[in-house]
């Protein structure tokens, strides 16, 4: 997976509301229709990194099936980052597309 895209995906996953690690991993997997195979373990260092940057915050809560789980939510800073990174991403994708499929083809 491209460097930095995992951060972007995690932040995007948290837009609707708080979620715990297990959910985040599965959501990313499903949304990408299983194209983006994440080794779920690698998710956790990423979560830790985002949290130390202050883009997400965490708290202990209870999961759907009544288990303790650590929930993550987007912070204001994280939301701003998400917008900036998303537009960056869009630009990147457009640029790459222009190169791969020149106009007029």
């Amino acid at each position: 997976m491209l460097q930095g895209t995992l951060d972007l995906l995690i932040l995007q996953t948290l837009v609707p509301g708080p979620a715990h690690g297990h959910t985040i991993a599965h959501v990313i997997e499903h949304r990408s229709e299983d194209v983006l195979q994440v080794e779920h373990g690698s998710l956790y260092p990423a979560l830790h990194r985002l949290e130390t940057r202050g883009w997400i915050a965490s708290f202990w809560g209870t999961s759907e099936n009544n288990r303790k789980a650590r929930y993550y939510r987007l912070t204001a800073l994280g939301r701003k980052q998400l917008e900036a990174q998303t537009s960056n991403w869009d630009r990147l994708v457009q640029a790459v597309n222009r190169v791969l499929r020149p106009a007029g083809e």
Partner: protein, 879 residues
């Protein structure tokens, strides 16, 4: 922020661990819901998550400050490793500590005593003139009469000059009368020396009145201020009665200011051409004037002065020299050579210590090559391994360094206590020198690191497969062995040199102890008696006082005899050229003179060999009679009887006019008796020819009195005090001392040398023995497998022991040979004054060889026997 996270990284880790647990539970629950079996569900969940430990490590590392984390890990690992091999650790630490400690301590002493002994301004720019007799270079005159000094002062080469005239005056007043060192200095002395007083003011040029008379003022030493005034500031303005004249205290000098005295004070020396006394002058040169040019000017002046006063200068011609003041300290000569040699000795000790550490590090790293290969095989990076080995060496070296600092402080203190005070300038202060401490610490630490790392560098790129297969099966003939053998040889050789030094000093000391001084030193009490020149102003008064003292002390119960003397009590005295009647005169020959009372020989226990003693009547009437010692008796041709012979003494012809002398003195004296030889020029020097005259020839202010009596001489002291007080209640007694103590002073320096050389010599031997031991133990350990094979093939225990001892014996023999050759070569350069015996002394040599062989054998024997006792089966299985 980063630091906060760093400090809380443990908690973070637990948090994440719990979180991962939660994930697993969720996933397992999901998997079960999908219909998997429990085992399948757990396996699948773990697979999905990946390596749990790796994830936690990832996060942990994010929280940590990389290098600190690993540093801390390495330090802990190093400490654990050091604790696990206490033998290695102890020896390495001791070696480091000894090397650093001894070197620093001795250099600190050298620095304090020789390099920077004085508190004076620019001491290296002070020069002292001296006049050397051309014919007899031992004869040095380093004083000028005041009149001469005033001419010296005018020479254009000098920017500044000052003169010092050490005097002892009688201090009377509130306390008991005492002899007080009051040094006469020219009025500019304190500006010349450049030291400010701690209280009041120092002597200034304005303290000489316009009419040339000095103001009666005194500057006190810190010692006198403490002793007389309890260091009270109100001492200023108080009066001290010196030789019946009041002197006003105007200032106090700091403790380290010890110009000619640390216990007395300084008064003004007026520059008066009529003053016949001698003063020691020192000078500072004008900018741009070379000492050579100044010497030439001085020599020209002296030549002119010698024209005017030929009797004050050597007859056979002279040269004038300027000596730098740093070279004419009380520590010059014997103490200087001792300290220089000690410095060399501890330098060797530092080398031995470094060799030891190097050796140990080499052995250890080689032993660990297997461990290192294993670590690399499981993925440790080369840089990471190097860093770890470096950390280990650093930890060891730093701990050793700290111990070294502590030891340096301790040894410095010990040397300070041991060092004979008379051989050290009283201004000198001995403190641990931080630069040297840094230097020797750096050397040892660097050695430790270098040798800890060198094999690590080699073994961190080994052929892994080989090293793993090899695991401890190498025989002891690898490349490292040669380095180790060389180190052991070097250690032995160095310690042989050190031991030679120790052995020679011990021999010298014992020889000195066995010297027969010529008198019986026990039961004799001696003390100085100095009368006030004002109150005893005539010849008759002074002689009467002396006779009263002799008579009064003779009545003390238990006293067998009493004697007075100037010279010969027990050493030294004035000297005179002489001519024996009927023999041609030789200018260069001199006799040592003793001015004595009747009973001198009896009091000091000197046997009368021929003739008779001087009688009390002869002494009182100042008859021209004399005793000579056996050496002087040899001045007569064999067969001629010196008794009854007449000797002309030049000095009696021209006694200084300021001296009070007997009304009529004959310069020709008749020998009436011969006494046994005494070591009259110090225990280490041969006996000088001596001649003893009635003390009544001169009425000096100072005499030495000696009593033979009780076995505990000091017990006579109270009776002596009482009798003297009975004669004159204001008369002080000089420092009482026993003859045995005086002789003891003679051996102070050799004792100091012996103590330190032996200490360092045995330290060196111990370190070298440990070096041999550890190297051999290591080799035995390495060759266990080989020994097993040998034994399995039929080698007996004796063969194995022989094999091991032969290997070690070769190293010891080579080391011994190199060391002996080295010390004999060194002996050529080293004056025997430190040792008292020649460097090739066979007894000293034999002692060293025996001691070293014994120590080396012990060091070899233990590990060799261990090898011989091996059980062949377990040796073969030994990995």
């Amino acid at each position: 922020m980063g630091w906060l996270r760093y400090l809380r990284r443990k908690r973070w880790d637990q948090e994440r661990a719990r979180e991962l647990e939660c994930y697993l539970e969720q996933e397992i629950a999901d998997n079960l819901a999908r219909g998997m079996s429990a085992a399948q569900a757990r396996d699948a969940a773990h697979k999905k998550l990946g390596n749990l430990t790796l994830i936690r490590e990832d996060i942990y590392r994010m929280n940590s400050l990389g290098f600190i984390e690993t540093l801390w890990q390495d330090v802990r690992y190093a400490l654990r490793g050091l604790r696990k091999s206490p033998g290695f650790t102890l020896v390495a630490l001791l070696s480091l500590a000894m090397g650093i400690g001894a070197t620093t301590a001795i250099f600190s002493v050298v620095y304090g005593v020789l390099i920077s002994p004085y508190p004076y301004a620019r001491p290296g720019e002070i020069w002292a003139p001296s006049i050397h007799d051309l014919k007899n270079p031992q004869q040095v005159r380093n004083w000028h009469r005041i009149r001469e000094y005033m001419e010296v002062k005018k020479l254009p080469a000098f920017a500044e000059t000052m003169a010092t005239l050490p005097e002892t005056r009688l201090l009377t007043g509130e306390g008991a009368p005492e002899r007080f060192q009051s040094i006469d200095v020219t009025a500019n002395a304190f500006q010349f020396l450049g030291v400010a007083p701690v209280l009041g003011r120092s002597i200034q040029p304005s303290d000489v009145r316009p009419d040339g008379q000095p103001e009666p003022v005194i500057v006190l030493s810190s010692g006198a201020w403490k002793r007389l005034f309890d260091s009270r500031p109100d001492a200023l303005g108080k009066k001290l009665i010196l030789n019946d004249e009041p002197f006003t205290v105007i200032g106090v000098m700091p403790p380290r200011f010890g110009w000619y005295t640390s216990e007395g004070g300084w008064v003004v020396l007026p520059e008066d051409v009529r003053d016949k006394r001698y003063a020691a002058g020192i000078v500072r040169l004008k900018a741009g004037v070379s000492p050579q040019a100044a010497e030439d000017q001085l020599q020209a002046l002296h030549t002119r002065l010698a024209h005017e006063q030929p009797e004050d200068f050597p007859k056979s011609g002279f040269t004038t020299k300027l000596d730098n003041y740093l070279d004419v300290t009380t520590a010059s000569g014997e103490m200087q050579s001792s300290l220089r040699m000690l410095f060399g000795a501890v330098g060797f000790l530092l080398l031995i210590a470094c060799a030891n550490v190097a050796n140990l590090q080499l052995a250890r790293s080689t032993a660990r090559s297997h461990e290192i290969s294993v670590r690399m095989a499981v993925g440790a990076g080369r840089g990471r391994l190097l860093r770890q080995l470096l950390t280990e060496s650093m930890v060891l070296s730093l701990v050793g360094g700290v111990l070294g600092v502590l030891l340096a402080i301790a040894i410095t203190k010990a040397v300070e206590l041991l060092i004979p005070g008379d051989y050290v300038p009283n201004e000198a202060r001995i403190t641990v020198n931080s630069y040297v401490l840094l230097f020797s610490a750096a050397v040892s630490v660097f050695t430790g690191i270098l040798f800890g790392l060198a094999p690590a560098l080699k073994s961190s790129r080994p052929d892994l497969v080989d090293a793993l297969k090899d695991a401890g099966r190498t025989s002891g003939t690898g490349g490292g062995t040669r380095t180790r053998s060389a180190l052991v040889i070097a250690e032995i050789a160095l310690s042989v040199v050190l031991l030679m030094g120790a052995s020679l000093t011990i021999r010298g000391f014992l020889q000195l102890q066995s010297v027969n001084p010529g008198f019986q030193a026990d039961r004799v009490l001696m003390m100085g008696l100095q009368v006030s020149p004002k109150r005893y102003s005539t010849y008759q008064q002074r002689i009467a006082f002396s006779e009263n003292v002799l008579a009064a002390l003779g009545t003390i119960p238990g006293v067998q005899s009493v004697a007075l003397g100037n010279g010969g009590l027990p050493f030294g005295g004035p000297r005179s050229q002489y001519s024996i009647e009927g023999q041609p005169k030789e200018d260069s020959r001199e006799l040592l003179l003793g001015l004595i009372s009747s009973g001198y020989a009896q009091t000091l226990g000197i046997p009368l060999r021929a003739g008779r003693d001087l009688s009390p009547q002869e002494i009182t009437r100042v008859e021209p009679v004399a005793l000579i010692n056996e050496t002087a008796a040899k001045l007569w041709p064999a067969g001629a009887n010196p008794i009854g012979a007449r000797v002309h003494l030049d000095v009696l012809d021209k006694l200084p006019p300021e001296q009070l002398k007997a009304p009529s003195i004959s310069p020709v004296v008749t020998v009436v008796g011969i006494v046994g030889n005494t070591r009259n020029d110090g225990l280490r020097n041969p006996t000088l020819p001596a001649l003893y005259l009635p003390y009544t020839i001169l009425a000096t202010t100072g005499r030495t009195v000696a009593l033979r009596g009780s076995a505990q001489p000091m017990q006579m002291l109270n009776a002596v005090r009482e009798r003297i007080r009975g004669i004159d209640k204001d008369q002080p007694l000089g420092n009482p001392i026993t003859l045995a103590e005086v002789l003891g002073f003679e051996t102070v320096q050799p004792r100091f040398n012996m103590a330190l050389f032996s200490f360092f010599g045995f330290l060196g031997l111990a370190l070298a023995a440990i070096g041999i031991y550890s190297t051999l133990s290591y080799t035995v350990a390495r060759r266990t497998h080989e020994i097993g094979i040998r034994m399995a093939l039929g080698a007996g225990r004796g063969d194995v022991l022989h094999l091991m001892l032969k290997m070690a014996g070769r190293l010891v023999l080579i080391g011994l040979g190199v060391g002996l050759a080295g010390s004999l070569a060194l002996a050529k350069f080293i004056g025997s004054e430190v040792f008292q015996v020649p460097g090739t002394d066979p007894v000293a040599l034999a002692g060293v060889v025996l001691l070293l062989t014994f120590a080396a054998f012990l060091a070899c024997f233990v590990p060799s026997r261990r090898a011989a006792r091996l059980d062949p089966m377990s040796a073969l299985r030994h990995e």
